[in-house]
Symmetry: D2
Subunit: 344 residues, 4 copies
């Protein structure tokens, strides 16, 4: 059986990966690692694993050695070296950090303050949005798993941009995310009494997902796309909902767009276009790998409003990474990802 | 001492009015009324009033008879007749419903499906946004208290529109509100397990606050203003935060705008412009009559992003109504409204 | 393949059953029914099922006709007639309501105001707590699936009572439940703004789970057990945590009790005794079929404090019903129930 | 005007004190201090104070020098020295920490690992529960402001214990608190994604409020009282609800107890006994200085169940401290504390 490993298993993304992978029918966990908790049992760190696994956090070298597929769930800047080793060993690397998401090194330098240490590797990496790059993913050994906000926005805009139907200079993405997106690191912003019953944007005009969104949307549109992207923090655990405003080049019929989206995503098992008149909501995709999209017009202005919602930890991180693994290994795209969202 | 009454005291807005008025230093409550609970003690309906008042819900006629200032907190369509009687009796009416907010009867008919029953009265009414109409309010006997979303948006845009600095055809208002805005009526959308841990927009392109926002912004700008307004429901009790996107006519310096806002609101005791670099958040105005505004630029596009946040039940309803009463009666504008938001 | 049906599929318990059963590897859904929504597609009622199933709510007779195993998720008093028909047809009935939980008809009459309409059927029914009645369940065709509060309390006390180690007249069960326990019916108590940021007990000394708890605990202890049971409503969606206070007959060593519990539950795949020093929490079992139990002493009084926590919708309802089905059909006890709780 | 100061103004209790004192009609703030934020404006630390005060955190010596009444809101062990200086200067000290709550030095040593550094001072201090010690408080210059849990429990049990009506060896206090009780220090337990949608007890049998509860209850009962006290953390910001179980010595009529409580608290402006049949809830006292108590019997066991609920930050800390100040200074007991809880 294929052996899978997680480097960075004790962050939220790593923990979610492990949770989903433990129930994946076609792989087994070969090893997990954590710098902070090396030598400790994972179920002493996250009690939801109590009696469900005996895995111990090892050194990351053990993960590379013991596994065929290696997921890296690390802060940016730490994955390149590991990816190199994995690729050199003819294994598969799926990186859930930001290291390989941008192909433009200048943008990377601008937003992350750092050059590519392995420029050759970047050329081999594929941006792991299956609804965009399915065939490339299948033959790749190095996946840049997309960011959570970008996933919600790119899925929401792809059919319009592919078909050159909207003004690429007037797109506004007002996104709202649950707090798991901020990870397990403690901060006043995620201290319960300060986040609960509050709501606010953060990093206005300054969030590192902006260049990723723009690069991918530009690639899709085959022209330069600018967005205004404003992330907000919701006092809930999981889920991203992006409210996307864009301007059609010509008058557009909503039913036409609806059909376009349905056709575009007809082979995408996780992207679901709601019937016209319905509105996408976080509760219906929470804890699943699904993306719900609903389409709306402001009739008085011929403006399109797209609601796109995913679980930031699953379709926005761990679930999408597993979807990429499934594609690479020739499994069913939804193996281990069939969970239906609890409605409540 | 001035006697004040509330018609519709058992809805959320009426209850909040009563709560604030019971601690107002310069008035006393003359009577309250409720159709659904006539004859019942208010503290049997809302236990927070237990031992704090002996008021009983009377018939609305008693309120008009016994009081000098009458607050009407009713569903739309029910306040006109009462207002007429109050005005005919030379008393003061502050309406927290929608009946007098729109001056354009056609718009009212379009959005509310009903004609004005007292057109003359509408001419006498003043839109009760003190930061816009302070002098008119002082001499009025009939106040149309603004809606909650419009208050947050109008305060956020007023200085820019007054000074003709932005494109009036490209304004997007992405607003998020706590659930008290939906009132005490039960619905699946506010059933705890369906709203908690969820988030979604509602009434996209279709919310009745839209014509109010556009009419008032047009009045401020002295030209026709169109907005795209999308309300969302937050899984919290109180607070509205509006993220407003607009396009400056010319390149604009953020410090210039910041100074403009500070000057504009220098005599407004409840509107506070945060220092540049800080971001307005619901937690800092919750349960107070304050409005916090923060100003931002997307430098890469010369786009202005305004964050404007209020407590929907206070500055967005009951508090603003009391502020209007204070102005009419010649009290200090902040009498009974000095509450500082608990930060947690 | 075995065909399974749900009568009452549009309540919260029915919806949760459907959600879990759709991913069960060894059965298929034959039919579902709902009185309120007959003829409607389930995914028009619960949008989490969008594109995941085409099931339509049929008449309950269709469910009985088409299926081999019938789950009844109905208000009390409605399951007896259906159960009779199912049993008469040599099929299997798992009742998630209260109709068969009490074997003492007088108690049933006292608490539910109604006699048994099918007394013979009651003799055939088995109380479906697998950790207590596994062998009986395997050969039964009629299961009374336990209540949510009773499950948490019975699992928490069973090892002590089986071994006659505590005073059976001085047991206090202080239980706290998420709001899904109240179902989908609207009420002020579960109206978001009234439940959020609040907390309170309800039905003190008066909850219908009391006789179930006492009857089962008495059966376990083989002597009359009285409890004081106080349920509280938590402002969260899911989870029950019971804090159980009891008095040992003799001085007892906590390590001895801990070993006793571990031995008692060594073959129970879903009951997990935390290491001494750790404390059970809802977050670690939420959305899974697991029960976490932690054991504590008040050393200064020789009093035992047991914390027992489950997901009220899963181990407290739908999950346990599936566990019972698995046992009856000879499946692995955890088929379809391997979900690990998300820690966040 | 009396000058009041706060030492430790940037913790949650200090911040709440400042918020309430800024609206107190009969005092002014002389100075505030903070070790961590010395020299900084308070409104740069807590934005709810923006434009509401220009106070700067000074050195604590300035507070003692400039003020007549000094509130100390500090971790235990830090108040004794300051209190000495305040008292030596013939000023008034109200300590919101634990330093003066226990009169038994051995207990203090056992629970806090430290001896009294100023034993003489302890003899002068008065336990500041006004409903117990009103006359002593009025003439004291050194107040030990009670803990939050103890306040809820002592108010809930006082009338029964004063009248020797219950077994003093069989009292169980199952208490649940909002997260502000844990203060502003960051921890995984109050990290939003780990606390939200969860619930659990903590420090079972081990919480430092235990000796305070027992010492005060013993003083009230005039005999040794033991309690089992289990605190739990609620995923809400504010409020404590204690469910208290006790056994009457004789059969007791609930109406008799209800009258006893009403009589006992007839002069207490903040303690309110709900009518029989109603149940106390956090939402009705949240953000006020009120305590709601409801009384219940488990008829089948002659056991009394008392529900006592307060806002942990107000009646459980800052509000009670101001109530004590009012008594000492001869103000109305409720000056500055008339806030009515928002019901939603």
């Amino acid at each position: 059986m294929i052996k899978v490993g997680i480097i960075g298993a004790t962050g939220y993304v790593g923990c979610e990966l492990l949770r989903l992978l433990l129930n994946h029918p076609k792989i087994e966990i070969g090893a997990i690692s954590s710098v902070s908790f090396e030598g400790q049992e994972i179920d002493s760190i996250y009690k939801n694993f109590f009696n469900k696994t005996n895995l111990i956090c090892e050194n990351m070298n053990e993960v590379v050695k013991k596994c065929d597929v290696i997921f890296t769930a690390l802060p940016h800047g730490l994955s390149e070296d590991i990816a190199k080793e994995v690729i050199d060993n003819k294994k598969i690397c799926i990186d859930l950090g930001a290291d390989f998401r941008l192909s433009d090194e200048n943008e990377y330098k601008f937003w992350y303050g750092k050059e590519f240490s392995e420029p050759e590797l970047h050329k081999k990496s594929v941006y792991g949005l299956p609804e965009l790059n399915k065939e490339k993913i299948k033959t790749s050994h190095l996946i840049a798993n997309p960011g959570c906000y970008p996933t919600s926005i790119e899925l929401g805009l792809m059919p319009l941009l592919k078909n050159s139907l909207i003004d690429t200079n007037n797109i506004i993405c007002d996104s709202k995310s649950g707090t798991t997106g901020a990870g397990r690191s403690l901060s006043l912003g995620t201290h319960f009494p300060e986040e609960n019953e509050s709501f606010a944007p953060y990093k206005i005009g300054d969030h590192r997902h902006t260049p990723e969104i723009e690069e991918i949307l530009s690639f899709i549109a085959n022209e330069k796309v600018n967005v205004t992207f404003t992330p907000h923090l919701l006092p809930i655990n999981r889920g991203i909902l992006s409210t996307i405003y864009c301007t059609p080049k010509d008058n557009i019929d909503l039913e036409y767009i609806h059909k376009l989206y349905n056709d575009f995503y007809k082979d995408a098992p996780f992207v679901h276009i709601l019937p016209l008149g319905e509105i996408a909501a976080i509760k219906n995709i929470r804890l699943s790998n699904n993306c719900h999209i609903s389409l709306h017009l402001n009739h008085r202005k011929n403006q399109i409003i797209i609601i796109s919602t995913i679980d930031n930890m699953i379709k926005g991180a761990a679930g999408q990474a597993i979807q990429n693994m499934n594609l690479i290994l020739g499994f069913n795209e939804d193996d281990g990802l069939k969970i239906i969202s609890p409605a409540f």
